[in-house]
């Protein structure tokens, strides 16, 4: 399987300051990659660079076979789910209306979207929410809203899915159910998923590989390798004495 994302020594400057440097990792089709790191580590910045919303200042970035200078061309093939606080919670849209937003692109400006209903139905079906199409979005639970937002990022049938802390604010059953859904999507559709998360235990048990950053690259490898590595402690400035995929007892932070 080919690499859908390849980053080599990637660096990003924001507001005159270098917020990312030396980031190296790759993502293959059908792989779930977890991006971990403390608050302010640059995880969202990395996703925005992969989307082409931020220019890289050094290194190399190749996404879906195109270099960082042409990422706009492959944007329709990338599904993106921003952090939960990015949308207006009380907005008067139905679940189907929210999913329809995902169909918008520069190509649809001043044009009618073709095959809209079928695409929305298929996206809702893929997240098990086909019966919720007409329900007001603002009246859904947090977990149901996340599924609808996931359907929005799937509606254009992307090859690559970028999710920014999709589990934040959800209770444990809703988190588990959401991760199970991602697992199914990965296997059924062969999607490559890049998931930013603060929940080390959940992400370690779901991901095929973890990328740990804190402004710079700390470690990249299988969950077991990353969780046992001393680089994880350096990134978080924490002592994760008992944390591993099979042993989830906690961490002792400074």
């Amino acid at each position: 399987m080919g690499e859908l994302i390849r980053a080599v020594d990637l660096g990003v400057i924001l507001g005159g300051a270098k917020v990312l440097e030396g980031i190296t990792f790759s993502v293959k089709a059908g792989e779930l990659t977890g991006i971990i790191g403390p608050n302010g580590a640059g995880k969202t910045t990395l996703l925005r660079a992969i989307l082409g919303l931020l220019r890289i200042c050094e290194g190399e970035l190749n996404v879906l076979g195109v270099p960082d200078t042409s990422l706009m061309d492959v944007r329709p093939k990338i599904g993106y789910m921003p952090q939960r606080q990015s949308f207006e919670r009380r907005f008067p849209l139905s679940a189907a209306d929210v999913v329809a937003v995902g169909l918008l692109s520069p190509a649809t400006v001043l044009r009618k979207i073709t095959d809209k209903d079928r695409s929305i139905r298929a996206a809702l079906q893929s997240v098990g929410m086909e019966n919720y199409a007409g329900r007001p979005f603002k009246e859904l639970s947090g977990g149901e809203q996340q599924r609808i937002l996931l359907a929005r990022s799937l509606v254009r049938q992307p090859e690559l899915l970028l999710l920014d802390e999709p589990n934040a604010g959800l209770d444990f059953p809703a988190q588990q159910s959401f991760l199970q859904l991602l697992h199914n999507l990965k296997h059924e559709k062969g999607l490559a998923i890049v998931l930013v998360s603060h929940d080390l235990v959940s992400i370690a048990s779901s991901a095929d590989q973890l990328v740990c950053i804190n402004r710079s690259m700390h470690i990249h490898g299988s969950p077991a390798e990353v969780l046992r590595s001393s680089h994880l402690h350096e990134a978080y400035r924490c002592q994760f004495d008992y944390l591993s995929v099979g042993d989830k007892r906690g961490a002792d932070c400074e």
Partner: protein, 274 residues
């Protein structure tokens, strides 16, 4: 009713109420969804500086006020995004600047300017044919813009980050909406004046958002409320000694209070229907 329509000034006033009511309630839909209500008040007060400048320079004050209103709206959007400052902070500065400029220029006036009083508190009964043409042109341009970019505007109001990630031209489309808002405020000043105009672009949308669960219903209810307030206020001011601007805003405020009272009943009715 026929008595009202017999007067030329009332015919023009009713037409102005129709045009401005439609315009304000449409813009109000986006103002409430994007939570930029304070921008409306800011734009109108900044426009005072432009109006005063026009009066001092002997230029049409509606033209200079419009330039100030549209300029303020677009500059606020641009500066808040480029400078990463909240829109509230930027408009707070423009608001004070426009008012200060207006007061400074007005203090240089010699004699009495009835136009100034009309622009501060509105005088729909003095609307001329030229004013109606200006309002009609604004309505056509703004409605055309909103119809053309409706789905993008809705997406930007719902989730700007997602719209940007989708590659939509978020900045120019949003600046266009702000320009439309500035123009709307300026043409509405004739109806209710600088002091009260923000009510016209906030209350219809705010009330409609309480009574509707989807955006289509919200837009329709906002339109009905905007027109009910505009026509209702005009009729009241015809029969009672109340200035039309104040009457319009009082009716809109009453409808909003009523919407709060009927909301629980309304929601139960919708649930029962489901």
């Amino acid at each position: 009713m026929s008595e009202i329509l017999a007067y030329g000034f009332m015919q023009r006033a009713l037409l102005a109420a129709l045009l401005v009511g439609t315009l304000c309630s449409t813009i109000s839909f986006f103002v409430v969804l994007k939570r930029i209500s304070f921008l409306g008040a800011g734009i109108s007060h900044t426009a005072l500086g432009g109006i005063a400048l026009g009066l001092v320079a002997g230029v049409d004050p509606v033209l200079t006020g419009s330039i100030f209103a549209v300029g303020t709206a677009m500059s606020t959007g641009y500066i808040s995004r480029v400078g990463k400052i909240s829109e509230d902070t930027v408009i707070g500065i423009f608001y004070a600047f426009g008012m200060a400029l207006g007061i400074a220029l007005i203090s240089t006036f010699k004699g009495y300017y009835p136009e100034l009083f009309a622009l501060l508190f509105g005088n729909i009964l003095s609307v001329s044919v030229k004013d109606l043409l200006y309002m009609s042109l604004a309505l056509v341009v703004i409605l055309a813009y909103i119809i053309l970019f409706f789905k993008e505007l809705l997406a930007i109001c719902f989730d700007e980050e997602m719209a940007e990630a989708a590659g939509l031209p978020v900045k120019p489309i949003f600046l266009g909406l702000l320009a439309a808002m500035g123009l709307t405020v300026m043409v509405s000043i004739q109806l209710v004046g600088v002091v009260l105009v923000s009510a016209l672009i906030v209350i219809p949308g705010a009330t409609a958002s309480r009574l509707s669960r989807n955006y289509r219903g919200m837009l329709a209810i906002s339109l009905v409320i905007g027109l009910a307030g505009s026509f209702g206020g005009l009729f009241i001011s015809y029969y009672y000694p109340v200035p039309p601007g104040a009457a319009i805003v009082l009716i809109l405020a009453a409808i909003f209070v009523l919407s709060m009272a009927v909301k629980p009943w309304f929601e139960k009715h919708l649930r029962d229907k489901e």
